[in-house]
Amino acid sequence: MAEKVGVEGDRDVKVPNLNPSSITSGEQTVWADVSPLLESACKDLQDGELVHGENFNLFAAMSALEIMDPKMDSGIVCRYYSVDEAIENGAAPVPLSFDKTIDVQCTIDIMDHLLACEATWHKGHSLAQTVYSCIYLQRPDRTSSHALLHSYCRVIRATCNSVVSVVSETRTHEEEDLFTMAYGLPLKGDGDEKNLSMLHAVEETISRQLRACKAPSSKKRLVEDVEPLQTNLDLEEGYCKSLLCRLRFRKHFYHVLTCMRRPQGRGLELARKHIASCLLELDSILKSAEFLGSNNACETSLDGIEGRTTASGRQPIGFDSTLNNRLAAPTPPRAIKILSWKKAVEYFQKLLHDLDIICSYSLDPLFEGVLRFVVEFQKFQPDLVARAHLQLLLLQEGKLYGRDPVFAMICKAAVLPEVTKSHDIQKNESVVQLVQLVISLLRILCTNAAWQRRKLGKIVQDWRVIYLQLELAFRKEFGEISSTSIDENVCIKISKHILNWVEEQTYWIASRFLMLGFELELYSPCEYCMVYWYIYVVLIKLAEKTHLKMLTSNEIAKRKGKKKRESLKDAARDYQIPPVVLLLQCQIYLAEGLTMMLAALRNEHKVFQSLGPFNTEHERFIQHFEFLQRACIPDHVSYLSFKESTNHARLSTIVVYNCFKDAQRIAKELRSSFSNDRDRMVELRQIEQVAEHNGVALNLVCRLGTLDPSLKVYFEFSHHPYFATAVVKRS
């Protein structure tokens, strides 16, 4: 036991009198056998007594581990003390069996279980407890005599390595910190860079073996020199095929990762081809289960069909998840559940589809396009690995797609005059900071929704601050110029456009922050009213800023047009509200309609009220919108203004001025403007549905509400992720 405590490292039993100034171990600490001390302490302490010390209080006591408690003591020896001991005990033999058929079977089981482990790792567990529970991976050299297993282990290591480096480079793992912890694991074996050529050689051999066994007996002679994969010739074809799809999947998957890492998205097209191949091989892998399962007469896994981690249903040889407990993570050891083989295959299918979406992206140079793409992509709830690859594509070396400088992108997005790109203004400290904020924003948008929302709540304040700083900086810089220079006009324009654009982004972030709350289920129905009201006021501001930006871009276009003597028709078009703004207008109407409907229901039917014994709605308001309120987003908006605008809502009045009708009408009209834009067509359709249903519900409640007290209203997200649909039912 004493030895074990020593191995434990610096996070277990604390002996306070060894080092009175601190209870953490350092260079001066000596590891000592505490067994006698503990034994005598046991005799001294009565039930309910506790050792107290200056540095050892009740709080510190909580960090104590109960030695030999399997839930807490990560040093506890489960089966084997070390990898070497496990190997000595024959836990990972090479070859797996001297019977060639069994050897092949077992190798396939290892491949399948590794796939399950890999998926489990991607889903948020540590590498040590998943993929590296494979003893064969722990000792890269041991397998060298077994070409099949050796090449497979190599490509697995290389793949893990590639994924770890993408995720750590992009730092998307901040929210899922276990992921990149690879401390003490042999992530790189000698010669792993050659993994593909080895894999290729093995694949070649097995293809030949497959051809040989399929050849009609008349031709057998010609291919006789090919030694079969294993000894049972009836099963030769099945085993060859099962191995080939597994090997090819690994090959293509490794290619996908490599291609996606090429700078400036140059490998995306090729990556798509490999993704398609991966998906085909996964299909074959799935199909192989029938063959592999039928040859498994002897034993079946304890977990039942659904829980099993191999296609055959057998337990794989050569895994021990407890071996790495001590490397797992600075938390108590927990047994983790490895995903089933079926679930693992499904995970990889989903991952590949997500990666395919990234690869088919057109690398839109426009900032709004990037934002929309990322938001649409996130709707599929991609996992960490896919999100990391998206970020890797978006931001390389501080440039968009590793290609366009961020400042140039801002200039385009903010409709700045062409001269700005080379203007000294980009050296201004605040502008440099703005560039950094844009980069941070893109990063944040690639993280998981829960983390993203928290970070957006914080960064929205930074955007507000940068607005104020820019305003000051421009006044200082251009104020000096304006008295003397002819540059004046340009400078004023630059500052006006940048400021408007910064505000537009700030409101966009605020709206995303609010809407993500629905996705994360942070709002309860009695809070919907204030949330929609807040969305409403933010969207109005967003629409205003977007419209202003588009007016200026139209102005520029018009000026260019004038030179070309454009027709009067164009002038007429200038006065039209751009479709993008009208789409926002639709959402504004929906938010307003929902706010008013909820307010009226509360005012007249006494439902959706938040009455608690300890606080009021005001406190809920403060808490939900704390981040926005602190940053004055928007200005002059408070709980008071919310109450003022909703206190008098009555069903009879809101039915007459029906926002849902307006939303529906505009959405219909907009269809023609967005006919080439699939995502926006979907959005329009959803808006129409919500508006239609809510319009009907509103009428119903208004007509019958007071007459029929059994009428209940509740809200669902059946048509739109953020805009609720009212459902009226008789209870």
């Binding site: 960090s63 581990l65 829960a450 994360l520 709002y523 939900h624």
Partner: protein
């Protein structure tokens, strides 16, 4: 989501409370003899394993915040809490709340937490927080009715891979400060999985 009117609810609470009050006895934590009772209940019903030191930390330092519910001498429910300074706010924290299955739905948990929250409020807490699994409908409904909001979602917070909500109850303040442009104090603290360095983590290693 059904919406019973708030009056209806109010009436139901009163009725339940009356029924429960007649047979359930609520006791503030009274010493080491209560410890096994609390541990027993929590071990049965909550997924996270706690050592005896975890319980002691709470009940020794904040005995006034822990309550037990007895029915005919049998302990059927308990609440364990703490309070303290956290990033410039004085806040209460509900660590554990459990009611035995056959005794659920009678308002026992509501009464237990209400007692703790009252003491917290009287002791000058500005807010109360806790974490609950997103799938724990019962607890979420209970806290929601007490005025807690879901302040944030914590991704895969529990070791079983389930997300959690950070719930928060803000007490009314006499003067509601005007909005200022300061960085909000976000806090990711909790004590189940993440934030190994925060003060609230009893598994601090």
């Amino acid at each position: 989501m059904e919406t019973t009117t708030d009056e209806e609810r109010e009436a139901k609470i009163v009725e339940l409370e009356a029924a429960a009050a007649s047979e359930i006895e609520y006791v503030s934590y009274g010493g080491e003899h209560h410890l096994p009772l609390i541990m027993n209940l929590v071990d049965q019903e909550l997924s996270e394993p706690y050592s005896i030191f975890t319980y002691r930390y709470f009940v020794y330092l904040w005995p006034q915040l822990s309550f037990l519910a007895f029915h005919k001498g049998k302990c059927v429910g308990t609440v364990v809490c703490k309070m303290g300074e956290h990033r410039n706010t004085f806040r209460g924290y509900i660590a554990m709340l459990v009611v035995l299955k056959p005794y659920r739905g009678r308002g026992i948990a509501t009464e237990l937490v209400t007692r703790s929250i009252k003491v917290m409020m009287e002791s000058g807490c500005e807010e109360v927080t806790l974490e609950a699994e997103v799938t724990n409908k019962g607890a979420l409904a209970l806290y929601g009715r007490l005025g807690f909001i879901r302040a944030k979602r914590l991704f895969r917070y529990y070791l079983n891979g389930v997300d959690a909500f950070r719930l928060k109850l803000l007490f009314p303040r006499p003067e509601l400060h005007s909005p200022q442009l300061t960085r909000a104090t976000g806090d990711e603290s909790g004590w189940h999985k993440d934030s190994r360095q925060t003060e609230e983590n009893p598994f601090l290693l």
